[in-house]
Amino acid sequence: MTARPLAVLLPPRPEPTAPRLLAQTWLLAALVLALCAGTAWAQAVAQQTGRPGALAIMLRWAPLITSGFLLNVMVSVLAMALGTLLGLPLGLSLIARTRPLRLLGWGMTQFFRNVPWLVLLFYIMFLLPFELHLGGLVLPVPAWFKAVIGLALPVSANVAEIVRGGMQSIPEPQWSAADSLAFTRWQTISRIILPQALRRMLPPWMNLYAILTMATTLISVIGIQDGLTLTRAAIAAESRPELMVPMYIFLLLLFFAYCYPIARLTLALERRVQVRI
């Protein structure tokens, strides 16, 4: 009689899950299908009325819309860089030992996190001068630069929270050990805590970047020629209502193609960081 493990002692089997690729392939297919369907429908309308085909028009406008989308990407990268630069000291102030500094940091973080981005963007747009006078030098402040600052402020507050969370997730003994080895507070933070915390801060930081990228379309409301503005301009130039659906889906697809891989990567990184802890 062959030895068979008792059924009761078998390791629990994980619940069967659908292959990971399935959902995203399915989704991408649906999106592209919607784009094609919209274009085909517009094409059909065009044929009835004898005007140029929708496909040709879509192809004609695609480069312009994509260039607008690239402005969104550029603004998001700059705002993220500036926001991270500002957010790091802000996050450090949240765990400062001096109470006034901590309170100041807390107030700033709470304020910039809880105010709508669009309101903040309006505020910066109207508040900052359109040109700077430095001695005899007149420096124009372009609108996109103001937008970068307006977006960087809420980003910095969110980065500050990420920094605080990451540093607090490092176990307490690390601090005590550094203390007992006579590291100064600054040395402890810069050489021991931050290097370890950075790995844990990366996934939420990337998540924030994806959110920021999507928020960059807000700059169209304050009159910057970004992807959304140019999409609208293209639709207005053609004055063909049936083109609206494919045009907007094209823009949605651009953003999706940019943000979805970031989301996947964030998830993968999160899993890796989790295993290592």
Partner: protein
Amino acid sequence: MTGPVVDLFTWINSRTGLNFSVFTDTYDGERFITGLITTVELSVLSMVLSVLLGLAGLWMLGAGGFWRALARGYVQLFRNTPPLVQLSFFYFALGGVLPTLTDSRGAQVPAVSGFGWAVLSFSLFAGAFNVEIFRSGVEAVPSAMIEAADSLGYTRLQLYRHVLVPLGLRICLPSLTNNMVNLVKTTTLAYAIGVPELLYAAAQIWSEVMNVREMMDLLLVVYIVLVALLVWLMERWERALRVPGYTP
């Protein structure tokens, strides 16, 4: 319009030149209040709908097969595209395609108003995040609970109703609060499609009275107060729901 508030802001105006016309001018005040009410309505309706969508998505994720793929697709699509483009798509593209209705006076009106599209769009956007939030809460429920419910012969609906949702909701309430705060902030996007909410009302006032700085400051304060109120309510709810002695 009289009263101590009017006197105070009239005095501020005469001393500093800061013109808070919302408090001194009846017309501006009414517009601002209407905007505030619209923002609150927009927020509350979207919150309720987004939570319902989140629950529906949670149910679909558990159903497997086609429904699971549909829920996942919905979540990924709405989480990874800009809410403003979603709103534009709904309002301009879909709203343009839908047939118009004729109202009682014979005028052509769109089938769904700007307000309606805004509620729909924000609910779908926040709902996608809610699905993920509820999923994380339900996943944190100890599997022994589910096995216990299984062994007691609970159906899937009973399992969700009596075990998973009550326990999971308590776990994910902080994340839900976060998302609801985000939703309130997102309602400012309705400005872009001309829904007369708070930002829109403020913009109308400052372009007429030319008191941009004052209206901006007021806007920031009002939104901070709105969000603080929401956070306070949610934290009260969180405390009220707490099961004494139970830590998941």
